[in-house]
Symmetry: D2
């Protein structure tokens, strides 16, 4: 009889261990998924290293999964009201929210729900739903999970590569939330710090908000080049410029004003301290994708914040709305976004993949069961 | 023949000197004002001490003025299209903007205009319009000045005290701008740091945005008491609590969430570092009224900004819209706001008044020519 | 053994019939309520007359209920995370939403959920949860119901009159939603058509949005007087003025501009056709509380909509956020809002109460089991 | 000596008459323009026919002009602070606003300014600045005119076709304003009624707001085809479908929901009555570009507005911000937008061009002096 398997952290920082599981039958609104691909996120390395407080061992990593419906009961629908059937390709919200608290109902920001738990982060394999991370062949999604159908089974094509959809799960979703909470408007100048997966998504979102000028600052030539192909007007290499030169260039590109919106997706405190200087008077600084303590940031409150009427915003995660937006963006810009997936590695080699991620090799590494 | 006079800074930190001027005739859209009262702002002390780069000596201070139209040409109107006549009581925008630049036209935030200059700050007595600060008996307003009629001359009453309108010029205007740029909505918890003039205005604006709970943190008992009378539900005395106790109390008052919006009108870096901890997940921190370098602020970027999805905003000044809002608020809450005017001092004693302000005596000191 | 009873529509337009029911035990997240009071809504008359398509006979009316927790299982919480206990006074969202569809998740407007069903409207007594309307001694709330604790049982006072909370359930909630979707800002002129329960709430919300001028147009002197006491600056009696006179008066009160925001809570097509003329250029017209076909409205598209840059918005209902806002507003303005409850009638006389409502006697009639 | 000339309406509906003028020297902030091209707008036909109340004969038509700076005084700048020099290619705001009234300052919507007057509409040739319409070889812009530099003189290329910039002046500007006032967000379905110049701009703006699905309804095959090339996913030909079929198709394309945002740029009352049915629950209907009385629109207030929580918005014009946005959009989509310019006609043949416009020949006809 077919078995599910998953790569499990038994001890922080050590080899992940292959565990086998019975494939459960779905009860009520549960959905059993056969995983197609699982992205590796920088946060996974932190969990693996024991640096994330949410972790409970032994645990299955993986919050960036897509897969096929393996089993589902009649009547279970996706967020568009489409009934799910065996074989449909789907994605789901990595977070599960209560939908009945102050954050969910009064502030209508369910990604801030205090009861939110996350597949691949919060639960051990002894906690329901057990198969709760995507470093696995199968997952069991709890009934409260928001699911989005990507391709109905009858439209799946044998020769199509669906794996890159996985880029939308985390990078695309968080970036979508960052842009949703931003004020970017037609004609603006947008500057992006960090040309990784969130940076490429940021360039595309900036274009799709009507930005007139898109500037990317980063340190990896190939990534900057991808950003340029995605639509960046100007890319600035950190390794070839000083901070003063970068600031001078940004001011020069904007008639001395600075950028209307700066998106920080580089993930360091020093990027923040540099980046706030790029913001125009009245502009905004959006920092997305920081998932661990990166230390303190020092701001001169008068010149960086008060005098410039600056808005600063931290973005934690996103929700299924943002995943929907990211998936749709992906469909429109598949040519660019497929190139963010630099490595496809067998799931059984997950430990090696985490080590590559730790060494910052590759842009987006994907595990294939 | 009647002469105008003004108290002039000839040397930083020294006695202001009484100068006499001819009262000019208005040319075109100019308006000559006979000053009724001029508020003293904390910023005035900084200019007087030579700590404000905008200053040019010899100079007349005063950007919080109200007064009567002394002379005006036919056809000059206020922002509501009401023709100005001799004797009308008016207030004006302390800033003069170009109304034709990126900030004014594209971003529609004229208070961020790069060409903005300010009565009482930016010009010496040798610069047109010479009588350009309200520490004076008369002022000349340039044609580009936005003017708001407060009371038409035929409705002025001999026994009415109009002087406290002056509180709306700067404290009320900046606070109005802070609330305009905030997201406070009906049912929210609002916390205010600093029970000075901006703090009292903040309590009233919070009420007029439907806040369900208003908390004020401060160090002066009489000011906290005024905030309570203005509508604060809870006041917390900094001198009777530790920072830990204050935070615990705020969390206790909000089911553990923190405040949806925190307004910092205390003016210190340490207030900011403490205040960001009061913000609820998804909430905002608005810092208004800081006009000089108050040093660096250290934020833990992960816990203070990223994880909490915090929005931080610095507010520099406001414009005539905000002055209009402040004036209207003043009319509705005259009983409370009149009490922020603690001292009325003859204009000729302006130097002594600045010294009182420096010693933080009094809440709002007003000069009367 | 104690029994529940409800007044049931067996035949449209006929006497309601008293039915008895066993009081169920709560299963899972269900909550059994002992009704304190049930408001009668204008919509109830339409259902009773057979004019509402949602109706299924035999049916219990009543979507404006408040009551005490009669029975609840451990762990069931209200939206603030407070565990519900027997005896707590609570209110609940009259609508039950799926929280997993496009409207709920992508547009984050759960009140527009296509699967929304409503207590007192959508179900017969044969449909679970059977005791599903508040014209009853007890109700069974399904687990998906959003509940708000009003008063914890230990703070209930024997001599306090809690019945008027009921005004917030429907009138207050819908008005809260109307204001949430409006753009009213500090200093605006707000005009309200219709001084009924929604009108009184509108006056209070307008004050709590900082309106500088509030005008109410209506036809009942006592209601207009209540609006004035609630804070309306000007009330205009439709029976003492022509439409031309009313428009002239509104323009005269606004320097010829018209009102920035007009709220239509009168419920007729003719009110709409008159009301759009009150809107200032760039202003908005918000129509709330219409629950049946009131016929066609004719607008001159050029002069009423295009030339004036008018925004028109229809408000259907609200959700628990809006109920929370309304409850909080009620707490702040109990003195005014208690007076909207004009009649308290024994539940057994529900048919007579519906007839009174049909004859438009009384402002808000409440049934007491 | 060089003379300016203009085609002047002396009598409504009759041949325009060529008048010669001295070319004035600029005084103060005035700018003298040598016209490169002038678009013909549908509104021009109404003025010519005597159907626009703003008209004063004898008058020069033309509010869609671009041209070269012929003469300017030192220090006159464009809205980006760039000093204007002879030879620069520029565009200007067709409207001149007071920038000091309630609409300009309090509501910050200067396009709603009550004192706004428009080049090519409001003034006769006897009114300053006389050369005040773009059906002319030269214009005199008053100092209050907001000007945007398109190409600095040193970057002008002899072989470049700059004439199509003219499409941004009116069609692009009004559409920009419509989108600025809309709520279109990433992932939305946008439907556009009317594939004329505003329709093509609408398709491009919808793409640049992240729309996932763009549907255009129209009656001209070639225009629908251009919309498809601009990015429309689906075009529906009104001549090949009934209204019922169109509605069915729209619902089918949107899982039964309808479009999140519908833009009406067709200009008829019947389009409005049909179009509101396309709007999804909670969606919006934006009507832009109607400049004359098109008669009454009948809406069923319950089903079209109240029950669906519909937002309806009329858009009158735009301002220099919107022109800036349109110009930037034009630069990014020159390939598509150039094709909206279907005819270039010598200025002296302006009357014939107006007749073509009246017969709806061509999409955008441009006059060349």
């Amino acid at each position: 009889m077919e078995k599910a398997y998953a790569m499990v952290i038994e001890e922080y920082g050590k080899e992940l261990v292959r565990h086998e599981f019975d494939i459960p039958q779905p009860v009520g609104g549960e959905v059993i998924i056969r995983i197609l691909a699982s992205g590796i996120c920088g946060s996974d390395v932190h969990v693996w290293k024991g640096q994330d407080k949410r972790s409970h061992l032994p645990q299955i990593l993986g919050h960036e999964g897509i897969g096929y419906v393996q089993a589902v009961n009649t009547g279970r629908k996706d967020i568009f009201g489409r009934e799910l059937r065996e074989g449909d390709l789907v994605v789901w919200d990595r977070g599960v929210m209560c939908k009945s608290c102050y954050e969910c109902l009064i502030k209508r920001k369910d990604y801030n729900c205090k009861s939110r738990w996350t597949y691949g982060f919060s639960k051990s394999i002894y906690d329901y739903p057990n198969l709760n991370g995507s470093y696995s062949s199968h997952m069991r999604l709890v009934p409260e999970t928001d699911i989005l159908q990507l391709i109905p089974r009858e439209k799946l094509k044998a020769d199509e590569d669906y794996i890159p959809f996985v880029s939308a799960c985390c990078a695309g979703t968080t970036t979508a939330c960052a842009f949703e909470q931003s004020r970017v408007e037609s004609g603006d100048t947008v500057l992006i710090q960090g040309p990784g997966p969130l940076g490429v998504y940021s360039v595309l979102y900036a274009r799709e908000r009507g930005a007139s000028k898109i500037i990317v600052v980063g340190g990896t030539k190939s990534r900057l080049e991808l950003c340029r192909e995605a639509g960046a007007d100007v890319v600035i290499d950190r390794n070839e410029t000083t901070a003063e030169q970068r600031l001078a260039q940004v001011l020069d590109l904007t008639d001395g004003r600075g950028a209307d919106s700066v998106f920080e997706v580089a993930g360091t405190a020093s990027a923040v301290e540099e980046g706030v200087h790029y913001v125009a008077t009245g502009g905004e600084y959006i920092s997305a994708g920081i998932a661990v303590d990166v230390g303190d940031v020092r701001l001169n409150w008068f010149s960086d914040v008060a005098r410039k009427n600056t808005t600063i915003k931290g973005i934690w995660v996103g929700d299924i709305k943002n995943t929907y937006q990211a998936i749709e963006l992906y469909r429109r810009h598949k040519d660019i976004l497929d190139r963010t997936i630099t490595h496809r590695i067998p799931l059984e080699n997950a430990t090696e993949a985490l080590r590559m991620m730790e060494r910052r090799e590759g842009m987006k590494i994907v595990l294939i069961p």
